[in-house]
Amino acid sequence: MWRYLVPVSIFAVLAAFFYRGLSLNPGYVPSPLLGKPAPEFELPRLKDPAATMGSRDLDGQVALLNVWATWCVGCRQEHGFLVDLAESGGIPIYGLNWKDDRQTALNWLTDLGDPYVASAFDELGEVAIDWGVYGAPETFLLARDGTVLHKHIAPLDEEIWARDFLPRIAEQCGSLPCPLETGE
């Protein structure tokens, strides 16, 4: 009778889903900010506590916001790539120095090179919470109008850059470097 086949059929469907699930990564959570305006912020600059850095600095350019900290091993790993990227002059990189010690962070930039146009100093991690940062390094790609185009969690490298970032940048401005927005 067909009804005795029901249990094994349900099981077969479940097993098919499990098989599919093995090749999915459940830990990957897309940022809810994607396609939305990035949260406004204003913080003291790392190098000059008297000056501030914030959304206004990023306005009007296709730019990266890189969340980093000296206690973060992955940040050290990607740092060389960021320095190279900055030297190629294609895209301005802004830093968000997260829950860090100011002096240690300044030493790090002196020792390893400073790829950042400027770094904001988020000592208590308050801005990072607005941005949904839950680990470093994280890198946000921002459009001219401040929209979040992409978020990458984990260290950046050539391969990821070419795969996830370049095509999105190309959509925005053809080729690097992106021209600044004009007509203000």
């Binding site: 009778m1 005795y4 086949l5 249990p7 094994v8 099981f11 077969a12 479940l14 097993a15 889903f17 499990f18 098989y19 599919r20 699930g21 093995l22 090749s23 999915l24 459940p26 830990g27 990957y28 959570v29 897309p30």
Partner: protein, 656 residues
């Protein structure tokens, strides 16, 4: 050299398991007594070799043999010795070995208690358990060998995950696994019955004690896990509907349904094919839990480090074992004809509804647990399903179940008039209504609708469970005929459910949680208690450093207790851990946890008041005791002496 002996012992165990899984089954098919007789010695030998492998691994932990990769990854010279032993099952490979050891133990139990079973049947049961064992041993040896060496050996180990360095975690996994794996026994009984094509009430009577035994362990294991999560994770919650918790809860629900349907199959010779299916489902859900935890397919705080190759292997194993059994079921189930029927108002009806509701609850949990996977696989995004879904969806089958349990207990088999049943239950029902409405107001000064419903349900279960013993004690003072142990077991188990419901209702309705920043000297009132922050000091543990806060708790000015929560940093893994300080009591728990330092001696704090939370675990404990009392009923032992053949035994007269 010693670790290699462990590896070798596992290979030998696999050899014996292969024989156990093949020869007795062939013997049963061809009615060859000599081949069937091999089952028991193989089960004994397998247990000896698996136990040897386990001892070898424990020894490697005990002597800090960091040349064994698994030891290096999960232990450390500074780790206290009890945790070194518990670290054996602290991660994937070792916990799998524990799983196999426990399977070998249950198999040994079946082998030694199976003398009363027909030889063919015993050979099939042991053969099927052997098949499961072959699968798990292959899994260990091919993908997860705990005896792998690392060269050069590290000077010191990576330490056990600090979350697991806790007495609760020492006994929680073995208990849980005893339950999970114990369900392999009713599974094997069910598959053997499907192979035989016959099923008698004697079959149900054999299967019941094993099912109840596994269920008791599962109940205790889940309760321990919940208790551990409560005090160790420091969030004050006791159940999070985490996929791994759900993975242990689903087999429990299915096993609970199975216990009830076995009762019907034993007494009345009906629900046969349903009982067989439930036995398969309960163990399938156990294996599913193993798969979910170890494959990395779901996001969970408990998940083991995952590896897709392992995931694929367990999936194949699951498909072979459960898929095979369900296929056999599809072919054979129609042979099992029910003997007779029953009226709408009867014990059978109530147990049928019980089963439907328990399986609906299982489906609710299964759907919520797997929904993120379904959605992701179909490309609909990655939703997360949490307590808002589970808390509501789970109540839908559970509330009617709570109402019906109290009635079902007092219904007669076959038929009963509704008016008799209602007359019996008038008093407890009325009392539950009055208490349910009055108690929350008297004790807590108010109640919402759901709180009232919950307290009524809890009181109803407690009172209706205790009805029979109370009535007997009152009416029949001159030496009443004692209730059978099996019935006492049922009374206690249902009483436990009532106590549990009361605990859950009160905790979720009247808990107070506050987060605050405080500097030494600050006072704060929570739930009628005054918490005074006296300051913090540094503390050194064996393998961690900690900041310890000191809190005086006063009520009406009198000192109740001093609480000392800690914020620990474990040296090797550098992971911070929050040790919540708890003042436990039957009426309420008080909890204080340190959050983050805010500078200048100030700390963020979490202070909680949780009334009746102990009732949750007390309820589970009473349920487990009920199971044990039922197990001690002499009729399960008498049956072993009488030699019976399934299908040919006339149903024996029942007591009670």
């Amino acid at each position: 050299m010693i670790p290699e002996f462990g590896h070798f012992a596992l290979i030998l165990a696999l050899g014996l398991a292969l024989i156990q899984a093949s020869v007795p089954l062939l013997g049963a098919a061809g009615q060859r007594a000599d081949l069937m007789a091999l089952a028991r010695p193989m089960a004994v030998g397998q247990f000896v070799f698996v136990a040897a492998a386990f001892v070898v691994l424990a020894h490697a932990f005990y002597v800090d043999d960091f040349s064994v990769r698994y030891v290096a990854l999960n232990s450390n010279t500074a780790l206290p010795t009890p945790y070194k032993i518990a670290a054996v099952w602290g991660s994937h490979e070792g916990s799998l070995l524990l799983w196999i050891l426990i399977l070998a133990g249950w198999t040994l139990g079946v082998a030694s208690a199976s003398r009363g079973l027909p030889e063919t049947f015993a050979a099939r049961v042991l053969g099927i358990l052997g098949l499961v064992s072959v699968g798990m041993l292959l899994f260990t040896l091919l993908t997860s060998n705990p005896f792998d060496r690392v060269f050069p050996p590290p000077v010191d180990g990576n330490d056990l995950n600090p979350l697991l360095q806790d007495p609760g975690l020492v006994i929680h996994p073995p208990m849980l696994y005893m339950g999970y794996v114990g369900l392999s026994v009713p599974f094997a009984f069910s598959v053997a019955a499907l192979m035989t094509g016959r099923l008698s009430s004697a079959w149900a009577r054999w299967t019941r004690p094993w099912t109840v035994g596994a269920w008791v362990f599962l109940t205790v294991g889940i309760a321990l896990g919940s208790w551990w999560a409560y005090y160790e994770l420091g969030w004050g919650g006791w159940w999070f509907w985490d996929p791994v918790e759900n993975a242990s809860f689903m087999p429990w629900l299915a096993a609970t349904a199975l216990i009830h349907s076995l009762a019907v199959t034993e007494r009345r010779g009906i629900f046969k094919s349903w009982t067989l299916l439930l036995a398969i489902a309960a163990f399938t859900l156990s294996l599913l839990g193993t798969f979910l935890v170890r494959s990395g397919i779901l996001v969970s705080v408990h998940a083991f480090a995952s590896d897709p190759a392992r995931g694929l292997f367990i999936l194949l194993l699951l498909s072979a074992i459960s898929g095979g059994a369900l296929l056999l079921y599809a072919v054979r189930a129609r042979r099992f004809r029910d003997e007779g029927g029953f009226r709408p108002i009867s014990r059978e009806s109530f147990l049928l509804i019980n089963n439907v509701l328990l399986i609906a609850a299982t489906a609710v949990v299964l759907l919520g647990t797997l929904y993120p996977l379904f959605s992701d696989a179909l490309g609909f995004g990655k939703p997360s399903v949490g307590p808002p879904y589970f808390n509501i969806a789970f109540l839908i089958p559970m509330l009617p179940l709570a109402a019906l349990v109290g009635m079902g207990m007092h219904a007669y088999w076959q038929k009963m008039s509704a008016s008799v049943l209602l007359r019996r239950l008038r008093v407890p029902a009325g009392a539950a209504l009055v208490l349910g409405v009055a108690l929350p107001w008297l004790l807590f000064g108010g109640a919402g609708l759901m709180t009232t419903v919950g307290v009524i349900a809890g009181c109803w279960l407690v009172l209706s469970s205790l009805l029979d013993p109370i009535v007997r004690a009152v009416r029949n003072r001159s030496a009443p005929r004692p209730l059978p142990r099996a019935q006492w077991g049922m009374i206690l188990a249902h009483l436990g459910v009532g106590v549990f419901i009361l605990g859950v209702t009160v905790v979720s309705s009247y808990s107070i949680e506050t987060d605050a920043a405080a500097v030494p000297g600050d006072r704060r009132e929570v739930g009628g208690y005054e918490f005074i922050f006296r300051g913090t000091r540094d503390v050194q543990g064996p393998n961690y450093q900690a900041v310890e806060g000191e809190f005086e708790v006063r009520r009406d000015g009198r000192l109740v207790t001093v609480l000392a929560p800690q914020k620990r940093i474990y040296r090797v893994q550098q992971s911070p851990m929050t040790e919540t300080a708890i003042d436990a009591g039957w009426r309420r728990d008080l909890l204080v946890a340190l959050g983050d330092p805010l500078g200048d001696g100030a700390w963020s704090l979490r202070v909680q008041y949780r009334p009746l939370i102990r009732f949750i675990w007390l309820g589970a404990l009473i349920m487990a005791v009920g199971g044990l009392v039922a197990l001690s009923d002499p009729r399960y032992r008498q049956e072993r002496v009488r030699r019976t053949v399934p299908g040919k035994t006339p149903r024996t007269a029942e007591v009670g």
